[in-house]
Amino acid sequence: MNKVLSLHDAVERHVLDGVGLLAVGGMHLHNNPMALVREVVRQGQRIRRLLTSPCGAFNAELLIAAGLVEEIATSYVGFEHLGLAPAFRRSAEDGSLRVLECDEAYITHGLNAGAGGLPFAPLPAGLEVSDVWKANPESFRLVEDPFTGTRVLAGAPLRPDVALVHAAEADTAGNAVLAGAHFVDRVMAMAARTVVLQVERVVPTEVISRHPVGTTIPGFLVHAVVEVPGGCHPTASHGHYRVDEDHLRRYLALAGGAEGPRAYVEQYVRGSGEADYLQAQRAPASGEAFA
């Protein structure tokens, strides 16, 4: 079955307005499925709850900047060494964005529980001394360890309705290869009811078959494949191109003002289709990256 769809059709078909839990893959400014994220912004699909990997970045920031996110479950949204994420920060500070406080352990083990149909994810003893779970009673509970009688922390399973995940390559059936770091993208894909993959290129199955055990996502988990070379821009795509720090610094400069994030969204996303956006980014400095 050929699962390759256009960017427009993949998002229109699989990311419904008001989606309950939308997960975005990638970690920090790497392997963010930005073409899919931008298309969600263009189509204006509202997100009841957004879930990031342990470290969300421009993927979450852009959706928040576009005003589409009601709540976010995350353990980090920021631009790492480049600074804080302005739209995330401002929306959290003024209360317009509800933040479900998570930590790395819960996001990882919660997704694992989602992938496995496990009723919940007990967490290591000691994690209960942090304030994280007290700030997020919806996602965390105390439970009695039936083997020792001690009270331990447990997280609710994370079952994204849709996951937007980047992979380097996939075949038309959705068998995909992760180049470079995995982050938690494989686990996220296993946990989600629907997986929309953004890839640098679609390749014959024979290319996927050459990769060893442990480096791929099997196609039976994947619902749509969208080929967008350069589509992680301005974040990096491992094996293909690096972070466009200049672009992100321009965003951060623009976003210093309260209207900046929306202005960016209008100019760079709503104002142009994906092909035009990527074309416009082929500046001399980053030109090779999108060749």
């Binding site: 980090y76 942090s130 982050f183």
Partner: protein, 268 residues
Amino acid sequence: MSQTDARTNGGAPAGPSIAELMAVELARRLRGDDVAVMGTASALPQIACRLAKATHAPDLWFVAGGTCGVNPRLAPAVPSCCDEDLLRADTAVPLSDVVLLEGRGDVFTVFFSGGLQIDAHGNCNLVSVGDRARPSLRGPGTVGLPFLARVGRVLIYTMAHNPRTFVERVDFLGGPGFLDGPASWAAAGLTGGGPAAVVTPLCTMGFDSQTLRMRLETVHPGVTVHEVVEATGFEVVVPEVVPPTPLPTDEQIAILRGIDSDGLLKGR
């Protein structure tokens, strides 16, 4: 974490920058039988680990969280913990494995930490300043800091030594230090060893064994004890004698700059 308050180095161009001195201070605290892990924006501890491996601790293991390269070998060092270059390493594993192993409690012996706020007992906060529901500053989030409760030694570093960062009590406890001091620390019965050192642009601190409060160990070249006390938003324990932080040797600096060949730490 964001490191916006970096103190610039006033020394001669050939001498170590403050950040370079800090890397040496961190490296000094690593042992050959350690397995260290670090996360977001961790160029400084990564360079410290490579320096330690190149000098006194060749058998040290370290994992650059994010990509999870194991003993990444690259020069130049990179500012992002998720950079693909960190896969130029002995090997690399999925992040989900590293997160899993962080919980085992006996695999990683050193965890590097930091915070928007760091308090007198070494608790760290990357989440929010003020009331969490309507914070005056919303930080990025706590990432893996709750695991500090289970790790052998926590090494805290920050480029911001000022009273906003060093507070009596964190507004949000994300990364546990010695909690509220000896009684609460004992009651919690944690398997981790707690914070072992705090390295800042002004000084290196440890913890008082009785009160479990931060205690000045050494002051960096040109810094006075008074400056440290003024820059710290809580009463830091000051021993009678506070020696100067040992200067890095020329060999250490040469090795460090060979690793940090893009000079990430040089101007800071």
